[in-house]
Structures are given as C-alpha cells and as structure tokens.
C-alpha cells in the first residue's frame, strides 16, 4: 500500500485501486440482491421480543467510496416498541439517517450497502422479516404498508409537476389490494388530507405543491406517509425546515396521529428539545455508533455518556441563563480512518485509563439505560 499521508491526499492510481476493489465487493452484494424467486425462509426470522415493531441488531451499513470505506453505521442495535416513539439524536454525519434508510433499504446503491447485522421488522402474526436480506420485490410491499417515511424537505419530497391529489393517490394505487375504484381513491385521499388537518381538502387535492406553504406541504407529506396505515413511521427531521409555531403544530399532529393509529414512530432529529417533547425512548448516536440509549427520563435527567452531557450543555435553553455555553472541543474523527479506541476519546474531558483500549462495549446501568463508556465499567446494574 502507498505511504499513508496525513493530509488525506490520494493519488489517482490509489483511488482507482480502491474503486476496483469496491466494485468487486458491491457487485457481490448487488448480485445477491437481484436474484429472482428468493425463498421466504431466507429472510423470515422471529422477533426477539414480540412487543417490538422493529429491532436493529448489530447493523453495519457502509459506503464504498473511491477514497475508502465510510462506516456510516457501525454496529447499531436498538428496538422500536409497538406504539412508542423512539428519538434518534446526533450531529450531522453521525449515521442517524443512514440507519433509517437501511430500514427502508433505500441506501444509495451500489456504493451504500448493509454489510452485516439484522433489521427485524414485525409484520404481525408472529412473523418477522429481516429487511437486510429481503429482495426488492418484497421490499416494495413492505415500504408504505409497514414502514413509511416523512422527509425533512417537504418541497423536495413532493413532485412539483403533479397535483397533490395525484401524488397521494399514486401511493394508494401502488399498494392497492382491494381493487378500489377511482372514486374510492379520491375519497380516501380527501379523508387523509382532512386527517392531517388540512381544512380546504377538496381545494388542496387539485393544487400543486408550490401553491402550499411549508407547513401545509409537510402535512401533505405526512398524509402520504400514512396512506397505507404503516406500522412504523420514520420521521427524518420533519420539522427542521419549519418555523417554531408551525413546528409545534406538526409535532402535535404527529402525536395525535400516532395515538390514533397505534403505530410506532422513529423520530430522527438533532434538536434535543423536540426529542424531549416527542420521544419515549432516546438513542444518542455519535460517529456511526450508539453511545447511549434509554428512556427519555434516563437520557435527560441522568445523561451518562460524556457526549450526551456535552450536547445537553451546549444547547442554549429558553429561561436558563448561563454566561458561556459549553462547547465540545475538537471535531468528529474522519469517517474513513476511524481510531481503534473510543471515537469520542479525543474530545472527551472525562477520560479514564481504559479509554486508550479498544472501543468500549455497551454497559447496562439500569433496567432501561445503556451506555458505551469506560466510566461505567464495573458499575453495571445487577
């Protein structure tokens, strides 16, 4: 291998070599994925706990880029219980979106591949599918019917050249098993628009996305996600592009709809305030790994991982006066050359001796609270 250079410079020759190797690996994955008539037994599994809607188990999703392998998600495990909201927090690039895209199997292929681990999706009747092994044809039935997604940018999530009604109906028609008529489709679409709090539903049915405001567009995207009564909704920063007053409306709406349909929400955001309001369980991610997880109370009242503590202190809060905000020193390590030790060590102000050792394993510090940090080594809950 060529001499390691610190400035990240890569010669064209080196880059070509990496690219060739990557293509070999990704081609193998693509080939496995494109097989026809895959027997159900290959992707059929059982949930470890039937009360969970989704179980992420040691998930690894990598991107094979021309400059090296980016381990965007590197060993993520957590559960989404039925009827609960799980908040996933972390900074940009920490792998929260890649985790959710892995569940939908919508990673940018062929570079993006789930290379290891299972994502068990509860499809009811004591059955579960491992979506990482499910072929495309099966995934198409799962998306929308079982899992659906609300995206961050409502403007880019909607097609500007089709009317709102057509776009929602498209979802219904794709997943139509009851052979409904055109009138029934339209009635259902209008019902959906009313459900998400759009007063002028008949009018909006005939409008184009540009005629709606940001908040209304996000409601339409939510209506589209809910069209087939999915069991789990992935909300990927659904309110980041909206104003606070509209954000409050959308969060309220999501809460109401969740209670009405008893589905689970996987809520991805970088805003701790939104998480506190929405989530029953919280997963904190850093550099592709889960550093801490627990109930919202665990995380907000007893944060254990130094990163979680730093994150909490660095956010200004209305009504809480501090002279200087805490800021986590340094920056996230380069995703292509991750260190062998704890990824947070170089930014951590609470290091202990073992931190130079290998990446800390997950330690259970209470019934619901898990943390990956050596500070709690030997302090496990019985």
């Amino acid at each position: 291998m060529a001499k390691k250079k610190n400035d990240g410079y890569l010669s064209a020759k080196e880059s070509r070599r990496i690219s060739r190797e990557n293509r070999k690996i990704t081609n193998a994955y693509e080939k496995a994925r494109k097989r026809k008539n895959v027997p159900e037994s290959e992707y059929l599994t059982k949930m470890h706990d039937p009360n969970n809607a989704v179980e992420f188990d040691n998930l690894h999703s990598y991107f094979f880029t021309d400059t090296g392998v980016v381990r965007a998600v590197d060993g993520v495990s957590f559960n989404v219980p039925i009827g609960k909201t799980v908040g996933v927090v972390g900074e940009s690039g920490c792998g929260k979106s890649v985790t959710s895209l892995s569940l939908m199997q919508l990673l940018q292929r062929p570079q993006g591949q789930t290379v290891e681990g299972e994502i068990r999706l509860n499809i009811g009747g004591d059955k579960a599918y491992d979506v990482t092994k499910a072929p495309n044809s099966v995934m198409q039935k799962l998306r929308g019917n079982y899992v659906s997604m609300i995206f961050q940018e409502p403007m880019t999530a909607l097609n500007p050249v089709f009317r709102i009604g057509e776009q929602i109906e498209e979802v219904l028609k794709l997943h139509d098993d009851d052979h409904r008529t055109e009138e029934q489709f339209k009635a259902r679409t209008i019902e959906l628009l009313e459900m998400v709090g759009i007063a002028n539903s008949e009018g909006v049915y005939r409008m184009y996305p540009h005629e709606l405001s940001g908040g209304m567009r996000q409601r339409v995207v939510i209506a589209m996600a809910l069209a087939c009564n999915p069991r789990i909704i992935i909300a990927d920063e659904p309110t980041t592009a909206l104003d606070v007053t509209i954000q409050a409306q959308i969060l309220d709406l999501l809460r109401q709809l969740k209670n009405k349909t008893n589905s689970s929400i996987m809520f991805i955001t970088h805003d701790l305030g939104v998480i506190a309001e929405m989530a029953d369980y919280v997963v904190v991610m850093y550099a592709g790994r889960v550093v801490e997880k627990g109930t919202a109370e665990d995380i907000f009242y007893h944060p254990a991982h130094p990163y979680t503590i730093g994150l909490m202190n660095s956010k200004p809060v209305v009504g809480k006066k501090v002279d200087e905000l805490y800021s986590i020193p340094g920056k996230v390590p380069n995703p292509i050359n991750m260190p062998k030790y704890c990824y947070f060590r170089d930014r951590c102000e609470m290091c202990v001796e073992q931190c130079s050792g290998e990446y800390p394993k997950e330690i259970q510090i209470s019934d619901t609270h898990f943390v990956s940090c050596y500070r709690f080594d030997g302090k496990e809950a019985k």
Binding site: F300, V317, G319, I328
Partner: protein, 347 residues
C-alpha cells in the same frame, strides 16, 4: 388615498428611545416595499410590504436580537440598514448620520464600519480564493493597515477567530461548516467594524459547533466593543446572546423589550405563542407545557390583513383588532408593544 393617513399614524407612534443614551444605530419608521411586476409592459401590479414602519435603536456595544417567522421581514430590515437594498421611506442613522443621504464615495468610507455575517457559510465564500485572500481583500482595498503590517494583521485576526496561520493558503472547500463560519467572522472583523449584522449565523450549524460560534461572537464583542444586530428564528440562541429583543410579524415590529422582560413576561400574544412554542429539552416540562397554540399560518405579505396583522391568528382578537393598527406604545420602561389589548390580557 389612505396611504397618507397611514403615514401620519406612523409619525405619531412612540419611538423606543430614551434621550441622552449613546445609540450606534437608530432606525426610524423604516419602510421597504418590493414592487411586483406583472401584466403587460411589466407594470407594478402589487407590493410586498416586507418592512412596514419599523423603528428601533441599538445601544453601542450591545446586541439586539430580532426574531420572527420566515418571511416576516427580519433579513430585509438587516439588509436595508446596510443599504444593500434601497429604502422606500424612513431613516437609518448610524452614529447620527443618515446612511441613505450619503454619496457613494462617502458610503464607501462607511462600509468597513458596517459588516455582515451570512447564514450559509457554504455559499458566502468564494471557492476560488484562498482564505488569507478572502479575509485580506477588503483590508487592502480599504487601507485598514499599512502594507508592511498586512500579513501580521491578517494572522492576528485569524487567531482571534480561532483559525491557524497555515489556513491562509487553503481554500474554503477544505473547511467544515463551523470553520467556514469562523472565516466569515474573520472577514467581517478584519475591517475593524463597529456594527456587525449577524443574519442567522448559526442556523446551518450543529448544536456543538453552534455553541463554539456563539461563544466566539460574544468574546469578540467583549474585546472589540462590537454592536450586533442578531437575526435568528431560534429563540433560545437569541435569548442567550441578546440584550434587547425585537419580535417581528409580517413586516411590523410587535414587541421590543429587554431580554429578561420579553422572555419572562411577553406582552404581545404573538410573542407569547412564539416563546411557548420553543421545545424545551426536559421531558416533564415539555409534556406538561401549556402552549399558546396558534392556528393557521403567517398570511402572505402581499395581502396583509387590515388592522393588526396578527388578528387572523390571535386567540384574543376582538373586532377593534381588524379595524385599526394598534399603536406601538411603551407599557413599562423599555418595553414596547403593539397590541390593542396588551393591558387587558396581561392583568
């Protein structure tokens, strides 16, 4: 036309000022309308009233926060103050001097004193210039320092902003968002400004980086006696950095008050709703939170409602609200509010 009446009304409104104070910036009845061209021969068919009679003052060495929903005219105010837009009417006094009466050569002399930091550090830096040149270009242009000291001066400014000397020869794409924002700050600071307009400087950044940039801005303010106008839609950031806060709605200022007053006792129903809508990172309070929930959305500034612009969404609205624009009056010292019912609903 009723236009003159409206203007008279504005003249009579109280301007939030206490005489004898050292104000760096005074904005008086600033109006900025954007014409909408359309129809045959591109006639003006309407006006977007982006800023509609706004007055406020900023004391030297302090920070004024400006909050409001998108499209309420926050950024337009900022840009009009810097004369990046022309005004429709009104006055902007910088050190007692009306910046709209200046000739272009006078304005050029004033430019270094008024600087701006933009929201998106990705699009506000030229990708083809090395960082040293980005920061130094205007310094050379305005002869801020003698040519012999130029290099040392730039290095010094970069260090103040948390950048290293070797960053000088690098290009913007080699930096992360937070560091780019530091470059933007260094660029503004290098001209020895008195006033910096911060137009959502931390909105595009992650929480931990946001904290670094906010701390940097505060430190620089202390060291150089800078005055900021801090525009943001994030109320918690504004609370942290500002001394006074102005709340805008649909081109109008609805409330101005010292920070503590506005966050503890907001008087205008819109400020109440805005502050209660901010999510609190504490599960128990967040869920118990009694919200002043607003229905509907901000109306189009093209067809602003009559009377108080907020009456269409206001939970307390009465008939009077849709008839006349409320006066901007001082309810307690330094606390100005534009609401007919301000006394009534705050008893």
């Amino acid at each position: 036309m009723s236009n003159t009446n409206q203007n008279d009304l504005r003249e009579n409104q109280a301007i939030p000022t206490v005489d004898g104070e050292d104000y760096l910036l005074e904005v008086k009845n600033l109006v900025k309308y954007f014409p909408i061209k359309g129809g045959f021969f591109g006639r003006t068919v309407g006006q977007v009233k982006a800023v509609d009679g706004v007055s406020f003052h900023i004391k030297r060495g302090t920070t004024m926060g400006l909050v409001g929903e998108s499209g309420c005219g926050k950024s337009t105010i900022g840009r009009t103050i810097l004369r990046l837009h022309d005004k429709t009417s009104g006055q902007v006094l910088f050190n007692g001097q009306d910046i709209f009466s200046l000739s272009s050569s006078e304005l050029r002399k004033l430019r270094p004193k008024l600087q701006i930091i933009f929201q998106d550090p990705y699009s506000s830096l030229s990708p083809r210039l090395p960082v040293g040149e980005i920061i130094g270009e205007a310094v050379r242009e305005h002869n801020i320092v003698p040519a012999a000291e130029f290099d040392d001066y730039i290095t010094d400014i970069m260090k103040q902003c948390g950048l290293q000397e070797f960053h000088k020869d690098r290009y913007p794409h080699e930096f992360s968002g937070g560091q780019r924002q530091r470059i933007c700050i260094a660029r503004a600071l290098a001209l020895k400004p008195e006033f910096i307009l911060c137009d959502e400087p931390v909105s595009a950044l992650d929480v931990s980086i946001q904290a670094q940039i906010i701390n940097l801005l505060r430190e620089l303010q202390k060291n150089f006696g800078l005055t900021y106008l801090f525009i943001s839609h994030d109320l918690s950031v504004v609370e942290h950095i500002s001394d006074t806060v102005g709340v805008m709605y649909l081109g109008k200022m609805v409330e101005i008050a010292p920070k503590s007053a506005i966050y503890d006792h907001p008087l205008h129903p819109y400020s109440k709703a805005l502050i209660s809508a901010v999510p609190v990172p504490d599960p128990k309070t967040a869920r118990a939170n009694k919200r002043v929930q607003l229905t509907g959305e901000i109306p189009s500034p093209l067809h602003a409602p009559s009377g108080c612009p907020f009456h269409t969404r206001c939970p307390y609205a009465k008939p009077v609200c849709s008839e006349s624009m409320p006066e901007f009056k001082e309810l307690s010292k330094g606390h100005f509010v534009a609401c007919h019912l301000a006394e009534e609903i705050n008893d």
